[in-house]
Amino acid sequence: MNDKPIDTHGGRQLARHVCTYLLIAAASYLGPIPAFAQTTIKFIAWNYQVETVQEFIKQFEAENPAIKVDAEFIPSAQYAAKIALMKSANTPFDALYVFDHVLGSWSSWLEPLDGYEGAAELKAKMLPVARQSMTYGGKLYGLPYYTSYFGILYNKKLMTAAGIAAPPKTYAEWAEQARKIKTAGLANYPLVWPVKHTGWGGMWVMNTMVASRGGKLLDADLNVTPEGLASLKWWESTYREGLSDPNGIELDPNESARAFMSGSYYTLLTATFFAGAQWANDKEKSKVAGAAFLAPTPERHATVGFARMYGINAASTHKKEAWQLIKFLGATAKSGDYVTPKQWVEKGALTWGYDGVEKDPVVSASLKSWGADPADIADNLRNALAMSQVVPFQAPWYAEWELYANGVLQSVLAGRVKPDDGASQWSEKAKQLAARYAK
């Protein structure tokens, strides 16, 4: 018989060891234990340069190790519909891309950003077009993903071959130059436009033309203004005369830019980023690389701009972290430098929403590589009118009206509807929708 007392301490120790091993085994099965608590935020974006966005997210996570970003990318054509569906189904998400043309209807569930730390300073540094495009009802709802303005992208090879000295300064001169190029047999249809009825396209070009004439498209009573009608008539005449490509009516902004890159066209009125090194000045993909230049709009040279933005879902439970993310992506890193906006110029030809970004040497070199003068680009961005200064862009009914108006525009340009009748249809629809949303 062993009179030694039972070593209860040793038994407890053994039990402790077993428990520890079990815990370690369980933990290794479940995954690595983070060194600190991590918050995961859900970020929804459309699918432009997904790899670039993922790279920026990695940079953000490296700077903010306590935050992990779960990004979901949606094709841009389905983006607005998918977000509307997610909202109506109460799907949780924290931060997202926002189109400025839907801000009016999305503002009811987007988080106003004015009260966030540093928001006032950033707002003060924003370009007017960015600030106006992201403000609704006096509240700021976004930080700029990018801003852009509309300009004439022209093919200098064709211009020189036709003996034309400089891009057009008036609408009459524009048509005259196109006639010259067509007569010389340099192009079947010198002009191409983004007119497809879905996405931005025809109506944004229309708004630009109206702005360049110093007017608005619709007056206070939602009737088409004389500047609007003059623009529509001029545009329609270029199709009637065979200066604009009739097959281009079904081209969206991307497709029309690719058409321009084939070298068969003299001009394309479009958003400036299509002149970038990833588009018209891409040596591998574009036949006009090195010959594609930007010119201001004719007449008064006024143009319109727009801004895409980062916003926060007001229903988010991680608003503070979401703010940190959108601040990094849409403004400054902890260093105070515009890290992401600067990289977007180089990697995606997307221009910025803050004053002075063009002075960065990398940004400046990138702009020069696509045949643009950084100072010109900065001036145009600074002076661009927000779309809402030309059309009721932020009205909750605008997106629906624009889709309809794009369709009417196509009909006018194809010669199926007279410009005066098209203008009446625009006006009638605007009044009908405004009445519905006034209730």
Binding site: A84, S88, S105, S108, E250, N406
Partner: protein, 295 residues
């Protein structure tokens, strides 16, 4: 005793059918009723709320786009069903004629049926492409076209382009139903007709067609219902354009609900579409009952 015997199988059948019936109620009846409810509500994302009475119906019936979409839907459905029935009948007759290689023809005919609608739409997107499309390539090489055409640029050609693309998807269903119908017609009828001196056209007119009335009716009914709610092909090929040239009611519902967040108006359009479809199918079934002459 005899009563309980006759009840038992009925009760068992009802119990066995109950899960399926519940699914139908959950996934068809409830959503249908909910859409009906929505159509009387002011449901705009970020706005409105509450009972709207007939406002949504008033708004959509005054909307020129809805009227246009309504006309387009009827044209699209009518022509695509007619086209599918004509082509399907032709192919079914070919298959029944026991031509050499008809087994291969069956496989080729069924192929579009196996292709998902979204893939079907993408295939036709490539076929109609103005720059690299197969249709342009073929017509250009045959000398029919002197330049590549943009098939989706004008409302008229775009509408017919989507009709052809959609009919192509419907044809296999029609062929299968009509081929099955043809196999049930006794060969004696044709032999008797031949003895009486009836030619091929007379045999078709007085034997095949009347005895195929029921399968033709079933095919037409299904194709009509599907065509009335066709969405994928429109979404991928034209998105309702150019202008409103191919705008159909199903696309308009999607657009109003998910692009513009006006769920009330979208529900009102959906209810009108459902009513029109019910009316068309109801009257068609009534006609069908009157013409059923199969032996």
């Amino acid at each position: 005793m005899s009563v309980s015997r006759s009840r038992r199988p009925g009760l068992l059948l009802q119990i066995l059918n109950a899960p399926a019936a519940l699914l139908v109620v959950a996934f068809s009846v409830v959503p249908l009723l909910y859409v009906g409810y929505l159509s009387f509500q002011d449901m705009r994302v970020g706005m409105g709320g509450g009972f709207a009475g007939l406002d949504n119906y008033r708004f959509v019936l005054e909307d020129a786009s809805v009227i246009k979409a309504f006309a387009n839907t009827l044209y699209f459905a009518g022509l695509s069903v007619t086209l599918a029935l004509l082509i399907g009948l032709g192919i079914a007759l070919l298959l029944r004629s026991d031509l050499p290689g008809s087994a291969w023809l069956v496989a080729a005919v069924v192929l579009p049926w196996a292709v998902p609608e979204i893939v079907n739409a993408l295939i036709w997107q490539w076929i109609y492409s103005p720059t690299y499309g197969a249709l342009n390539g073929i017509l250009y090489s045959l000398g029919v076209l002197t330049d590549y055409a943009s098939w989706l640029s004008s409302p008229l050609s775009a509408m017919h382009a989507v009709i052809v693309a959609y009919a192509w998807k419907l044809v296999p269903f029609v062929v299968i139903i009509l081929y099955a119908g043809l196999t049930t017609i006794p060969a004696d009828y044709y032999e008797s007709a031949q003895i009486d001196g009836a030619g091929r056209w007379a045999q078709f007119r007085y034997i095949t067609l009347p005895l195929l009335a029921a399968p033709l009716g079933v095919s037409a009914l299904f194709c009509l219902v599907w065509s009335m709610r066709a969405f994928d092909i429109i979404y991928l090929l034209t998105r309702g354009g150019p202008g409103e040239g191919t705008l159909v009611l199903s696309y308009l519902v999607f657009s109003k609900a998910f692009e513009f967040g006006d769920f009330g108006a979208a529900a009102a359009v959906a209810c009108l579409l459902a009513l029109v479809t019910f009316a068309l199918t109801g009257s068609y079934m009534r006609v069908l009952r009157g013409t059923r002459t199969a032996p």
